[in-house]
Amino acid sequence: MDFDFDPADESFREEVRSFIHDALPADIRERNVRNYHANRADTRRWTTILHERGWSAPSWPVAKGGTGWTPMQQFIFDEENFAAGAPLLETGGLKMIGPVIYTFGTPAQHERFNVPFLRGEISWGQGFSEPGAGSDLASLTTRAERQGDEWVITGHKMWTTNGHYANWLYLLVRTDPTQKQRGLSLILVPADAPGVTISPIIDIGEGHSLNEMFFDEVRVPAENLVGEENKGWTYAKFLLDRERAFSAEIPRNKRNFALLKQIAREARRGGRPLIEDGAFAARLAQLESDLDGLTWMTLRALARQGDSSWDLPVGSILKVRGTELQQTIGEMHVEALGDRGAYVYPEPDFATGEHHWPPGPDYAPGVLADFLYRRAVSIYGGSNEIQRTIIARQYLGL
């Protein structure tokens, strides 16, 4: 056993930190530290900056245009980005459809989609969930029928993050109605194709990141199928193991915990710093302990990434507790803001930077909206109840 960071990882961290310090535009940072939803212009600009450095795909192999970094380096990169207030890279393209394309798709698809994506030119929207297919995703009904050289798609998709920014969509659709999981395929659709309608879903934090999408006999060429017909379920699941070490969102939890401590130092209860209140301080310490446990488990999972002999359901464990921690930190943010925790600080106009905020300390805007949105994290990506069932059935054998 060796619990020390590799010196090479430490110097890598320094390299990343100093690059971000010099390269991250101040206006992007300002929006991101407030946790308002990502803005396409920011993401694109940041992706372009990273692309020039060769860093726009931290989790991809060098041969596919990525960095070839180790899991630990990817984690360090995420941590430094979050801590500095850099925008998240586009998860859908980076962690889902991009790797599916270069693993199961054709070289032509890789050239057409992934290469421009790395330059920040493509924004993906994911179409998996449906009104009638949430946890039971495999019961989805959006239909793709083969007619000559085309697929004709009809159906209704939900919860597409950043669908309003997307120029391309990847859909899980039913190509064989007689099968369940084995009747699904993955198809790429231009967001501006005739018959596609994308409409906003406003979350309880009054933010707009989510969308629903309607497909009315949308026609795409046959070559937009990724991999083989009816193998879509396999493709949708193949990345889960690779991404399991990242499921606790440690970088986000760390930044939000640091913000909580900052608020607790500056806020007053009866005129004294809130952090000196014994009951509050004890709850803060409990969160710190929770964060420590998740961090060490993440480090262990990073060290064992790709080791299929390790059958612990670490992704499910990290997902359940990591999302619960996000929500608890958010609750305490709002609580610590006191009276101002109830004020609505509307999202600023991303184009102009203009905002109309009620009075309050500088750290207040964004806190409430993020707290409210984070009720989603224990629902998406396989709800925490589904994760518990996976743990009990697959690992405990119940």
Partner: protein
């Protein structure tokens, strides 16, 4: 970073596991605690023979110079078997206190003798009003003509009924909660002015209260230097707290899988009760807490060699998690068994009792949350 055991560590784990499985089944243990007084010299001889008692001792004191990782491997396996002999009090708490105090002469010999099994010292430090606070010592040592006179009372000295020596902390100066002014003395059973009140503990292990009434201690039996024992006590407690976490992980792991097996066999409503989702999710939460405990143990082990503030923050963080997990896993292991779980003859309740004691040992959750807040405020 590497979280895997090396070859020697795997062999060590196997050897402790074999001992527990072959020589420490539940019936043997029951007999030992009911008729054997909770201590079998043959077991202690095995600990010595297989090198477990020497593994954590420094090489210059005749030990094998192993790290806390080796001790954690041993404790986790002993935890699975609910081993009642005082391995942790002797081979960790007392050994680390002696090693950290910088011993010479007689005390150095005691330290070296731990490894062979010839000496079984225990640390007599805790007091009833300290409740986990390491610096709180009211027992007083007053200098006399030829040495020291100790007066006070030490509580929950685990393993004391079987001990060959007592390492007694006493205040030679300062206020009761002052880290400065605490000294450590070497006493033995039968010393004048020392009374031992033996106590049977809820987890079937044995301890004593040690009452000192002007007990005379020769000057040569001061361990280390006068008034400076706090650092050694704090280091020993950091080790012991970390390693009792390892023991708790072993106990929780075993309790969890015993419960899993029960859920697969126990039939109600015409099916194994493990089919019910409410119970499955409870088990999932137990596994989550267990694995987070394991993760925290890595954090504490990693910090044991760090500066005291860093070390103690990590150890407290781990103990908070262990306490939370021990309550959930221990309590729910009983709950999921139903009525059989609360019977003395069935094994699961004994895990609950041990886990409850561990939760309260070396500072409970409240103490460690408070210590984390204090360390964060510095």
């Amino acid at each position: 970073m590497d979280f895997e055991l090396n070859h020697e560590q795997v062999l060590l784990q196997d050897s402790v596991r074999r001992f527990v499985e072959k020589q420490y089944d539940f019936d043997t243990r029951r007999k030992l605690v009911r008729e054997g007084g909770g201590f079998d010299p043959k077991h202690w001889a095995v600990f010595a023979e297989l090198g477990w008692l020497a593994i954590g001792l420094p090489e210059k004191h005749g030990g094998l110079g192993g790290s806390a990782v080796e001790l954690a491997i041993i404790l986790e396996e002993l935890g699975k078997g609910l081993v009642v002999e005082p391995f942790l009090p002797v081979a960790v708490l007392a050994a680390q206190a002696l090693a950290a105090a910088g011993v010479t002469g007689e005390a150095a010999q005691v330290l070296a003798d731990i490894g062979t099994g010839a000496a079984r010292p225990v640390l007599a430090h805790g007091e009833i009003d300290a409740l986990g606070e390491i610096a709180f010592v009211e027992t007083a040592a007053v200098r006399g003509a030829s040495g020291w006179s100790l007066t006070g009372r030490k509580s929950l000295v685990v393993g004391a009924p079987f001990a060959t020596h007592y390492l007694v902390s006493a205040r030679t100066s300062g206020a009761p909660d002052d880290p400065q002014g605490i000294s450590l003395f070497l006493l033995q059973p039968g010393d004048a002015g020392l009374e031992r009140i033996d106590v049977r503990l809820s987890d079937s292990s044995r301890a004593s209260e040690i009452v000192l009434s002007a007990a005379e201690v020769p000057a040569a039996r001061l361990i280390g230097t006068e008034g400076n024992a706090f650092a050694a006590l704090a280091a020993a407690h950091a080790h012991a707290t970390t390693l009792i976490c390892a023991e708790a992980i072993g106990a929780m792991d075993k309790a969890l899988w015993i419960t899993r097996d029960y859920l697969k066999t126990r039939q109600q409503f015409g099916q194994p009760i493990g089919n019910f989702q409410a119970l499955q999710h409870r088990m999932a939460d137990m596994l989550i807490e267990l694995e987070l405990s394991r993760a925290q143990l890595f954090g504490a082990l990693a910090a044991l060699g760090s500066a005291p503030a860093v070390r103690d923050r990590a150890v407290s963080s781990a103990k908070v998690q262990i306490g939370k997990a021990a309550r959930l896993v221990g309590g729910q292991a009983i709950q999921l068994h139903g009525g059989i779980g609360i019977t003395e003859e069935y094994v699961i309740g004994h895990y609950f009792k041990r886990l409850t004691m561990i939760n309260n040992a070396f500072g409970n959750v409240g103490y460690h949350l408070d210590r984390m807040s204090r360390l964060a405020a510095v």
